[in-house]
Symmetry: C2
Subunit: 290 residues, 2 copies
C-alpha cells in the first residue's frame, strides 16, 4: 500500500503541524497555505487526508473552516485532535544576552492576543508586529540576527528556526486548547489507540421555518428526550441576509447506545435540512515537555 | 445643553463613520482606533455614546465586540443601525487612464473577501495587499500616485482621499449589510423618526448546568410559549475551556405586548445568569446614491 498523503495548514512548525504529527507518524505530510486549499486538496483527491483548525477555546470557532465545510465542500470528519496551545518568547541565539532590550515582538495576531497580559506587563512599550503565522514570525527573527527582536510561537518553531526560548508559557490562559478536524472523502473514521470513550457526531442544519424560537426549540427536543448531550451548538450566517443562520451541533453518545439514527430521521421529518459531517473519535495530545 | 460626543470605530470615512453620520448629524464625532477603545471611552465617560460594528451578514458576529461587551464592559445598547455595505474599486486621478493595468490592490481583508469573485475574474493575477481598514487603503493609494495601484472601499473614502471610482458595487453578494450597536452608559434608548416597528432586546446568558441539550431546550421554552421571536441566537466561548459557552439572543416584540419582563424572571428562576444589553429600536440607512 502506498504511503498516504496528509495535507495540513502550514507552514512547517505551525500548531496544526504539531497536532498532525501526533496522529500521522508514518504518512507524508504536506504543508498548504490556507484552510480552503487544505479542504480543496482532499476534495480533488490531491491528498488523502487534511488537518485544519476548527475551534479554539479563546477565539471560538474558525469561521473559514466551518463556512467552507458548509457551503463549498463535501468531505467527512474522520477524527478530531485536541491539542494544548503553549506560547513562548524566543530570540536569535546571538541576542540571548540582550533579550530584555527587545525592540519589536513578532507573531500571529491570535498569539499576540493570547499573551496580552504578559506583554503589557513585561514589554508594555515594545511595539508588536503582526505576522501571518507564529512560524513565519520565528523564521523572520532567525533571518534578522542583527536586530534585537523576538517572536512568540511554539517549541517546534524554535527548533525549526534555531531560536532560543527565553520565557516559557507566556500565554494568559493556561487551559487554552485548539480542536483540529481530520478530513477525508472516505466516511470511515479513524480508530486507533488513545481515543476518548465517546463518539462525537457533527451535524449542520437549517431550521424548517422562520419562527426561530419555536423551531429551534423543536430541534432541541429531538436531542433532549433521547438524552443526547450537545457538546456544542453555534450559529453561522447563511450568507443570504442578516438574521438567517445555519447551526452546527456536536452530539456526544456512548458507543453502546446508538440513538443518532432515530434523531437524524426525526430532524428530517421536522423539515430541517441536515448535513452530517460524520461520527468520529477524539484524540487528545499531551502538553509538550517544556 | 452641550453637544454630545460620539465615538466611532475609525478612521474617518470608515463604514462605521458612514452609519454614525446618519443617526448623529449635530453631535461631535470622534474617530477611535479599536473596538475596545470605543467601548472604554463610553465606560470611562470620555464620550457620551459609541458606535461599533456588531454583525455582518457574510462574516457573522464581530467576536471582539460581543466578547468585550460580555466580559469587560457594562454599557447599554440604545439603538442599532443597519447599513448596506457597498464596495468600489478606486484609483488616484493620475492613474485613471491606465487603471486596467493595476499592479496591486489594497483593502481590509473582509473587503477583499467580499469582492472575491470579482477580483478573481477581473484581476486574477494582480496581488492583493491587506490594510487595517478600507479607509487606510484609500489613504495609501492617495499618497502613492507614482504607483498604478487601487483600493477597495466606500464612496466616502473616495471623497475623503480624492480618489476616482472606476468600478462601482464590485462586492459579490448584493444584500450585504452590517449591524452597528449604539452604546451608552444611560439605559434610555434612542427614539426618533425612522425606526422600525418592533423593539429588540439583546440578552447574554449562561446555561444553569452542563446538560446542554436539556437546559438550552428549557431556555428556549421560555421564549417559545410566549411566542417571542428570536431574531438571533449565537454562542461564544466563555474562555474557561473548550465546550463552555455563553449565548447571545436577540428577542423581537411588538410595542404593545411587553412579555420580556416575565421571560427574564423565568430565566433567572431556571438558574441562568442573564445580562441584558437593553431594549432598543433599529434604524435602517438607505443605499447611497452611487
Amino acid at each position: 500500500m502506498s504511503t498516504q498523503q496528509v495535507a495540513f495548514l502550514g507552514p512547517e512548525a505551525s500548531f496544526t503541524h504539531l497536532a498532525t504529527q501526533v496522529l500521522f507518524q508514518h504518512e507524508k505530510l504536506v504543508p498548504l497555505r490556507t484552510i480552503p486549499e487544505c479542504i480543496e486538496a482532499v476534495t480533488s483527491g490531491k491528498v488523502d487526508i487534511a488537518v485544519v483548525p476548527i475551534e479554539n477555546a479563546l477565539e471560538g470557532t474558525v469561521p473559514l473552516t466551518i463556512d467552507y465545510l458548509y457551503h463549498e465542500a463535501n468531505v467527512s470528519v474522520i477524527a478530531e485532535i485536541l491539542a494544548p496551545i503553549q506560547q513562548h518568547l524566543m530570540v536569535h541565539p546571538s541576542n540571548v544576552k540582550r533579550w530584555e532590550d527587545i525592540q519589536t515582538i513578532y507573531s500571529h495576531p491570535h498569539a499576540l492576543a493570547q499573551c496580552h497580559k504578559y506583554l503589557s506587563y513585561r514589554f508594555g512599550k515594545v511595539p508588536l508586529e503582526q505576522s501571518t503565522s507564529t512560524s513565519a514570525a520565528a523564521k523572520y527573527v532567525s533571518e534578522n540576527e542583527q536586530n534585537c527582536i523576538a517572536a512568540i510561537g511554539n517549541t517546534s518553531a524554535a527548533t525549526e528556526y534555531g531560536l532560543q526560548i527565553m520565557e516559557h508559557n507566556i500565554h494568559d490562559f493556561h487551559f487554552n486548547h485548539t480542536r483540529f478536524f481530520v478530513l477525508s472523502k472516505m466516511k470511515k473514521s479513524i480508530w486507533q489507540a488513545g481515543h476518548t470513550k465517546q463518539v462525537k457526531t457533527t451535524i449542520m442544519l437549517t431550521l424548517p421555518k422562520d419562527d426561530r424560537s419555536g423551531s429551534l426549540h423543536q430541534v432541541l427536543s429531538v436531542f433532549a428526550w433521547r438524552k443526547l448531550n450537545l457538546s456544542k451548538i453555534e450559529s453561522r450566517p447563511l450568507k443570504t441576509g442578516l438574521g438567517q443562520y445555519f447551526f452546527i451541533m456536536d452530539v456526544l453518545e456512548d458507543d453502546q447506545v446508538p440513538m443518532m439514527r432515530g434523531a437524524m430521521e426525526e430532524l428530517a421529518a421536522l423539515g430541517c435540512e441536515v448535513k452530517s459531517l460524520g461520527s468520529y473519535y477524539t484524540y487528545e495530545t499531551k502538553e509538550s515537555a517544556d
